[in-house]
Every structure is written in structure tokens, then in C-alpha cells.
Symmetry: C2
DNA sequence: TCCGCTGAATAGAGCGCTCTCCCATGATCG
DNA sequence: CGATCATGGGAGAGCGCTCTATTCAGCGGA
């Protein structure tokens, strides 16, 4: 680094001069295209080393029309902004609350992990965005339009989320987590929730449970509905048409109160299926407070196989949702859409798997 | 949009032609620089509207040498890569485990929230990066060097994290969460952990607790140490030189087992200070299993005021760490470093605040 | 010997934007 | 009334890269 600490970063030009070749040749070596004489390749590589050259992303994107960035959007329903929200839109308070809710569930962390796992080897990176208001949605759209990101991975927290339709309308590359409530011409990745519910029912029945109840998720969420449907169908198929249900909100507290209600009405219950692990944890806590042993007195099956399934005690028997794999698949699909290799919307549905631990 | 659905996005040139002015004038209107005749401003704005123009980020970055992106780096200690890691470096498994650990604590979600809160109004965006291995660290550095991001916000999960020093050595703009173990010429944001410990002690004593114990965090983490020191000093100042300690790992499970141990040795305890809320939750669960009522029999004080402080039952009395504000301050400092408004490393230390709820 | 012909390297035209000059205009002033 | 100056606008030079078109060297075949 004797060559003077000039603040300016070295450019292709500098490397070319150093190596005694043209800019184009250096570019070819870096991008590994076309035939370049091995001896010259070496020459160039050494020059790159010597100058400490790093390609400038902006310049590259400008010509390739690709940023190497994808937006990872967590999207809510939010105001339509037409209904005259007090100026300034969403308050910091609201945004914090929204973010906190999103991250309270380990689910999102798994999504991030899966996405990064796929993106990293391809030198791509996720930009985190929240789209909980009309304003924020507009920002996401403009971010994509101006080419700051090549596409979007969207995780909706609400069935009425308008973002997918907006993305589809503009023809922006995007992949969704879970099938959207309304049909939209976008690829998505999903889980066979029905089958997950079925597996939970079969396991509880096989264990010999006779009085089974269920704490369902919010019934306006399709995934919750499907888990419940699959669960009930399997029960019905085994001659159990009636299953007491309490609706929860996917939170620990809601699991506890749902369980309290069920215990009051059905004190002799001996099996519970909770539609996610967080609620299952609440269920366990409430059962313990009522002196029930798990799984001796009551067997509990959760859903997701999130980190809490193993941190909570007893460790949860649960239906595994392979979130990391699903997220990686989203990234893969998006990448293919961006590269233009894939043009038609596609869906990939994953199979859940029962993980047997201590709670059932 | 009658003007032919040519796939090409409209450029400044197009807008300029449409408005009958020069490219430079349109640019001036968009960036709000220099005086432009109001009537022409209007003309231009209408032309922008009509063409549906969005400025191209890459082109802009190329000349301004600013990307409008900052890296939000979650950094671990990780291998030094010199010790011959089996080819391929970090496995997907490891990365998932790392990510899961990071997101299991609601802490990181609050950081994200605070950062976005500051960045969004400034049209800046965070790129999520993990730096749990030497390879990953190199990638972060190159990402910054090539101008893909203007600076880095670093949250270290390990005191020996080498990333801060690397960033400082290259003179890349960066701000840390928490003071680094070794002195590094970077700005950071921190909390007065000692004072937080003090507040917890004072509250338990003021409540009349006589047999107080504490579940500390990992003692190789400075924050844990400081919380403990502050706690013990305050106790000592009130004539209580001896406080039984169990060391936990900031996880729910570790809180439970630490509490189990303390209960065995000090069955008559009536007050517990846990160094974070997750452990406090474990403490509460364990106390309940031993038939203790909270707060009647045992008072529990947590630390952080994370979301679980209110979702857990009873709701936790806890020392609030204003993570969102701290994260926003990080973003603010980084932005100033990037703009060149601030050149010297700075530290900002926040004060904790005791939030009294039901557990103590 | 000359002519394609192929492979390897170069020249140079942009990508879409910002920003520094420079020029036209009209107001101000000695 | 010409010199001075603020004001608003345009021309055009890049920013650092990719990629097409082009040149050039070498080589076998008629």
C-alpha cells in the first residue's frame, strides 16, 4: 500500500493500468466471462490484490440493472390512508408495537435465517422493510421501482394485506409466504396445514386420549382454519365428531386463557392440540396451575416446532413447520423470477412432520 | 399512461423532455436545491406525475457516493478461520442455530424497530447481515468497502467479537451497541447497567424483602457484570454484604435451573433479581412449581422490560432498558458520521428506569 | 500467397444521475 | 448609460462499470 493513501478507492481503470491491460479485460476476469489467457488472468488477479480493488456496486447495478438486494417485507393490513388518518400517519408507538409483535414470535427469525442462508452464497442481501401502513407500502413499491431491490419476499401478518396485489399489478418480482386470501398472480410457498392438524389428531388418539380439546388460532387466518379442519376431519374419521374448541390469538396469554376456559367446561379432558407452540406453552402453564401433570394427566401437542418447543418444559411434542426451508425456497423462487428463468407464478407446498418430545 | 408500455422505466431525460426543460432543472426540483422558478417547479412536478418517474438509485449513488443503506450487523465471536475449519466454513445448521438464538430474545426486534424508526423518515434502509464467522465478517467489510452500505450498526453477541476493530482499522463508519470489551475508536450507545442493578436492589429492599438472591447473566458479559455490581453495591450500602448468586445464560431454561438451585440452598428467600426478563420468567415458573406465590411469598424483579415482561404472568416488575431509543440513537450517530457532521467517536449512555408491575 | 476464420484483447459507447461551470436576463448602482 | 451583480436556467463532463463492436494476431486450406 505504498501508493499513497489517497482517499479515493481504486477503480477498474487503476487495476487495468497496474496490470497493463484494458478495463474490459479486468472486468472479464472479475466476472469470469469468456476466454481470457490464464497468464493474463494471473496478472490481473495480482494487480487486484496489489491495489486492494473492490468493485463499485452502484456502477455495476447501473448497467446490469440489478442491485443484488431483495426486500424482506413484513406486511400488515393497516389503514387504507384514505380514511383521513391524523397527519403524520403511523406513530412511532404503533410501529414499535407492530415490530414487537412480529418479533415476539420466533417465527420471523427463522424466516430471516432461511432467507439469508440462500441469499448469502449468491452475494445477495435482504433489506428489512415494514409495510404496516399505506405510506409504508408505497415506500416498498417505490423502493422496488427505483431498482434499489430486485424483488420482494413478503410475509403478511393479515389476510387482507393489500401489498401482494399491488406488487402483482406493477409486475414486480415477488414471492409470498403462504397462499394469499385473494388469488394473486404471484408465487408462494406454503405448508399443508390440514395434514399437520391430521397428524396431531392421530397422535393424540394413538396415545389413547379420549377427551380431546383444541385451542385454535385466529379463525380469520387461513392457516388456523386449515389446521383446525384437518384436525377435526381426522377426529371425525375415527368416530369423534365433537371436539370442544377455544379460539386463541397465537399468543402465550391467549393460550392460557383459552385453556382456562376449556378446563372449566371440560375438567376431564386428557388431550390438547394447540395451533402453535406459543399457545401450547400457555396451555401447559395453565394445566400446571390446575395441578395437571403433562403428559400423564393431559397430553399436549403444539404446532411449528419453534425454539420455545425445546426451551419450554416439558419439551413440546409438536407439528414441525420447516420455516427455514420454506424461506430458503422463497428466496430461490424469487431469484429465479428475477433472473427471468421462471416467469409463471408457482406454488410450493411443504409437508409438516410430527416431532415427538415429552408433552405428548 | 397512453405513451406505450415500453418496459423501460422513464428517466430524467424523459421527464425533462416532457416538461420542456433541461435534465439539470428536473434534478434540481427533485432534490430541492437552488432556486427554481415556482411555475417551472410545477411544470416539472406535473411531468413527473405524468411519466410516473422514479429516480434510479444506482445512478444517483454512483455520483453521490452514498447508497442510502446501512448494514445492521449481528455479530458473534466465531472462528478465526485460521484454525483450519473444514471447507465450506459455517454450516447452515450453525447459522440457523445462531440466528435462532439471536431472535429468541425479543431484544433484537426492538433494535430493528428503533433503527427503522430513525432511518425511514430519512429514506434510508437497513440491510440485515450476520457476522458469526471470519468469512461472514470479511463479507461485511467488503460490502461496506464497495459502497453497498454507507456504514454499519453493530450488535455484538460476544465480548471477543473482532468486527469492531476491523471496522475501525478500515475507517468505515460504524456505531456499536454497548461499549466494546477492548477500546476501539468507534461510537457506541450504552446503558448504565450498574444503576439498573442499584434500582432493582433498592426496590426489593424498600418492599421489605430480607432474604434476597440474584440470578446473574453470563459473567463474561460486561453488562451482566455491571448489573450485578450495581446490585451488590446497593445491597452492601444498606448493610447486606452477602447475596447468594446463581449464574444463568440469559435464557428461560437457565433462569429456571438457577432458581431451582437457589431454592434448594435458600428455601426461605423472599426476593429475586434476575438479570433479564427471560430468566425472570423462568424464575417465576420455578417458584410457582415450588408453590410460592408471586409477589406475596417472593418478589421478582427482571431486567429489560421486553415484551415478555407484560405477556408473562404475573406481569414483571423490571428495569427498563430503552432499547428502541438506544437503537434510534445509534442510527442517528451513524448518520452523522456518514454525513461527516461528526468525526470523533462518541458515546451516549442511557439511564434505566424501574417499571413497577405485579411481580414485585 | 492470399483469404477467410477463430480466439483474445481493446476501444468506446453508454447506464441515469449530479454538479460544476457558463450564459442569458433583468435589476442595481455609480 | 454602461458596468456590476444577483438570479434562473442549460450544457456537458463525468461517476465506475459492462458489453457490443471492432481490431488484431495466428493459422490452416485452396
Amino acid at each position: 500500500m505504498v501508493r499513497g493513501m489517497n482517499r479515493q478507492a481504486p477503480t477498474l481503470e487503476d487495476v487495468a493500468r497496474e496490470a497493463g491491460v484494458s478495463r474490459a479485460t479486468v472486468s472479464r476476469v472479475i466476472n469470469g466471462v469468456r476466454n481470457v489467457d490464464p497468464s493474463i488472468q494471473d496478472l490481473v488477479r495480482r494487480a487486484i490484490e496489489r491495489t486492494g480493488y473492490t468493485p463499485n456496486r452502484a456502477a455495476r447495478s447501473l448497467v446490469t440493472r440489478r442491485s443484488g438486494t431483495v426486500a424482506l417485507v413484513v406486511s400488515g393490513a393497516g389503514d387504507s390512508s384514505a380514511d383521513g388518518v391524523p397527519a403524520g400517519g403511523v406513530s412511532a408507538q404503533d410501529q414499535n408495537a407492530f415490530t414487537a409483535r412480529v418479533f415476539a414470535d420466533p417465527f420471523f427469525g427463522r424466516v430471516v435465517s432461511g432467507v439469508i442462508g440462500h441469499l448469502r452464497p449468491r452475494c445477495m442481501h435482504p433489506v428489512l422493510m415494514f409495510a404496516e401502513s399505506a405510506e409504508a407500502r408505497a415506500e416498498v413499491l417505490s423502493y422496488l421501482r427505483q431498482g434499489s431491490a430486485d424483488g420482494a419476499l413478503v410475509v403478511s401478518t393479515h389476510p387482507e394485506d393489500p401489498l401482494p396485489a399491488l406488487l402483482a399489478a406493477e409486475g414486480l418480482p415477488a414471492v409470498l409466504f403462504a397462499r394469499p386470501a385473494r388469488p394473486v398472480a404471484l408465487s408462494y410457498v406454503d405448508l399443508d396445514h390440514r395434514d399437520g392438524g391430521r397428524q396431531a389428531a392421530d397422535h393424540l388418539l394413538a396415545r389413547g386420549c379420549r377427551r380431546i380439546v383444541t385451542v385454535a388460532g385466529p379463525l380469520d387466518v387461513r392457516a388456523s382454519q386449515n389446521r383446525l379442519d384437518g384436525f377435526r376431519d381426522a377426529m371425525a374419521r375415527q368416530g369423534r365428531p365433537y371436539v370442544p374448541i377455544a379460539e386463541g390469538g397465537f399468543t402465550l396469554a391467549s393460550g392460557m386463557s383459552a385453556m382456562a376456559g376449556l378446563l372449566a367446561e371440560h375438567p376431564d379432558l386428557d388431550g390438547v392440540f394447540a395451533a402453535n407452540d406459543l399457545m401450547a406453552q400457555g396451555v401447559c402453564q395453565m394445566l400446571r396451575e390446575h395441578g395437571r401433570r403433562i403428559p400423564e394427566d393431559v397430553a399436549v401437542v403444539g404446532f411449528d416446532d419453534s425454539t420455545i418447543a425445546v426451551t419450554c418444559s416439558p419439551q413440546l411434542t409438536t407439528v414441525r413447520q420447516p420455516v427455514e426451508d420454506m424461506a430458503a425456497e422463497m428466496a430461490r423462487l424469487l431469484e429465479e423470477h428475477i433472473r427471468g428463468v421462471r416467469t409463471e407464478p408457482t406454488s410450493v407446498v411443504f409437508d409438516p412432520e410430527l416431532i415427538v418430545r415429552d408433552s405428548a
